[in-house]
């Protein structure tokens, strides 16, 4: 277990783990009978971790979904696929590294994968613009979906963004139009499309890549119309009420499953995907493979019809 940072609500677990580490150091110096105490504390820590994560509030889940050590696009791609061939650029303006994509192969199943990349170091976070896509990123996604559609490759998207980038140039280049067209492209694909909300599903910037016939979501991921902070600062006039906003907006996987906005919840390792990335990635790979398998039998027209029906049914009486 590699742990670098504990979240605020994990403090009791952090205290236990610190105590265990302390004892281990002592044990290393030769005190063998400490072993049973370490085991007792470790069991207690595991139990506390499991119970904490079984009862996370929407706001706590938001923090888990944003955890810096949570796997990102590059980790999923490396762990899920046997091969990945990145593709770049929108052929009009540039290459947006907040939205990555390319050809990928899972066993014999070839596909196009597209997703947000937040980056995991200061330098890479800046390069990937913290996963906040710009118009050229969404237009690259459209181009890759066009490619997938023409050559019969399924599309898999991995959604992890706080939202599309709010900037002057992004607006000038048509951020809204790019998002609208990307959403439209998802909905008109004649090939299977599976989306997974793996971290943060932030508003329109997420929908643009998540308008699929099968939408999966990690157990502790969140998906919402606006960030809890943004919602709180508008409706409560202070971002301090973010926890209330997260609660009221119903942003968790369980909420969204009940509302039929997502189709399947993918279990995370105890303590969240960041505590065992490899296991989380395997779970996601398995779910994606199964979903693609069930969609394989559908014709392009059936796929489009299924996708349309899925979205029209959401929220229906």
């Amino acid at each position: 277990m590699t742990m670098t940072s504990y979240l605020e609500f994990e403090k009791p677990i952090a205290a236990l783990d610190a105590r265990i580490a302390e004892l281990r150091e002592t044990a290393d110096t030769g005190e063998i009978d400490i072993e049973s105490e370490i085991e007792r504390l470790a069991a207690k820590s595991r139990k506390l971790l499991a119970s904490t994560y079984a009862g996370l509030t929407p706001w706590q889940k938001t923090q888990v979904a944003r955890h810096p050590a949570r796997p990102h696009f590059k980790h999923y791609v490396a762990g899920m696929f046997d091969d990945f061939l990145p593709l770049a650029g929108d052929r009009a303006f540039g290459d947006d590294k907040a939205i990555m994509g390319g050809f990928a192969r899972m066993g014999e199943q070839r596909m196009v994968v597209i997703g947000h990349e937040k980056g995991d170091t200061t330098e890479s976070r800046i390069r990937h613009n913290f996963g906040m896509g710009k118009p050229e990123g969404y237009r690259k996604a459209i181009r890759l979906m066009d490619l997938a559609d023409r050559f019969g490759l399924p599309v898999v998207t991995l959604v992890d963004t706080s939202g599309a980038f709010p900037g002057v140039q992004a607006e000038e280049r048509g951020q809204a139009e790019a998002i609208a067209r990307s959403t439209e492209r998802c909905l008109t694909l004649g090939v299977p499309m599976v989306s997974a909300i793996v971290g943060e599903g932030g508003s329109g910037g997420a929908v643009a890549l998540a308008s699929a016939e099968r939408v999966l979501m990690f157990e502790h991921a969140v998906y919402s119309v606006i960030s809890p902070e943004g919602c709180a600062s508008i409706l409560w006039r202070t971002a301090d009420r973010a926890a209330d906003a997260a609660e009221a907006m119903q942003v968790t996987a369980a909420d969204l499953k009940r509302l039929n906005v997502i189709d399947r919840i993918v279990k995370e390792p105890v303590g969240g995907a960041h505590r065992d990335s490899a296991l989380a990635i395997q779970e996601l790979a398995k779910a994606v493979r199964e979903e693609l398998e069930t969609l394989k039998v559908l014709s392009p027209a059936e796929l489009r019809a299924a996708r349309e029906a899925r979205f029209l049914a959401i929220g229906a009486l």
Binding site: P166, A248, Q250, D255, L259
Partner: protein, 285 residues
């Protein structure tokens, strides 16, 4: 004149509503000039002094658009009300009640069927006066209903957008109106029918990032605020002042996001002409 106004008007000491000083004059929100309310109304709620296009509701819009001022208002669809039982400083159901009490309609989007220059069209008008025009399930359902009626009538769907964005009180279900409205547009296109967007002040957020930007022809009224991200959010992100005219109609036209900026007085004719072009082949077939 109905019996009530007859009785009321015959009583000399009760001032008639429309002759109070409040209603006699209109103060322009942009330039502050006072104009006779009648003159302002005759000028389609556009300030004769500074050309500010004031926000208007569905009925006024339909009145200035359809041939002979005749239209059939489409009944508003029934949707689940307050699906999340949402409450912030106020209950969402109370906000809805207050909005309805203000008499601007059942929700923020109203459709009507009529003719423009002889061509049939279904027109949807989003009213900013109803909870900031925000897009929730009712708006999404009305949008879908409007496109379905257009398909049934084999005519274009024209939408006048005005919204702060998605209706937060409906959480993810408001966000889902982005793909839902997009599906409706795809169906209109599959039927070979035009979808025309007229952006009015203001159109921002999730509305802009879905059906407001997918028009076959994109028009906007002058100086309308149109954008994805809010100006305050952008300023906080880039930490500098925004350029002159940023996110206004003319700026969007300059940056290739619109086909034309059209004054309100010319909208009816311009729409008539665009519909004529787009429907000509269909009419001949």
């Amino acid at each position: 004149m109905n019996w009530f106004s007859r009785v009321r008007n015959s009583i000399p000491f009760i001032a008639r509503q429309d002759s109070t000083p409040d209603n006699l004059w209109h103060k322009c929100k942009a330039c502050g000039e006072m104009v006779f309310a009648k003159e302002f109304e005759d000028n389609l709620s556009v300030c004769p002094k500074c050309n500010h296009h004031d926000r208007i509701g569905a009925a006024s819009r339909f009145g200035m658009l359809f041939d002979d001022q005749i239209w059939e208002e489409l009944s508003s669809p029934t949707v689940r009300e307050d699906p999340l039982k949402f409450k912030d400083s106020k209950k969402y159901v109370d906000r809805l009640k207050a909005a309805r009490a203000a008499n601007v309609g059942n929700d923020a989007l109203t459709n009507a069927l009529g003719r423009i220059h002889g061509n049939k069209a279904v027109v949807g008008v989003q009213d900013f006066a109803f909870m900031g025009g925000s897009m929730g399930m009712a708006v999404g359902a009305a949008f879908i209903l409007g496109t379905e009626r257009a398909i049934a009538e084999k005519c274009p769907y024209v939408i006048f957008t005005a919204a702060g964005g998605a209706r937060m009180q409906e959480g993810i279900l408001s966000l889902m109106q982005m793909p839902r409205s997009t599906v409706a547009i795809s169906r209109l296109h599959a039927a070979g029918l035009p979808y025309i967007v007229v952006l009015t002040d203001p159109t921002t957020g999730g509305v802009t990032a879905s059906y407001a930007m997918l028009g076959d022809v994109q028009m906007a009224e002058p100086n309308a605020l149109i954008g994805f991200a809010g100006q305050r959010v952008i300023e906080q992100t880039i930490r500098e002042k925004l350029p002159e005219g940023f996110q206004r109609s003319e700026y969007l036209l300059e940056h290739g996001m619109l086909d034309m900026v059209v004054e309100r007085k010319d909208l009816r004719d311009r729409l008539g002409s665009v519909i004529d072009y787009l429907m000509a082949a269909k009419a001949a077939a």
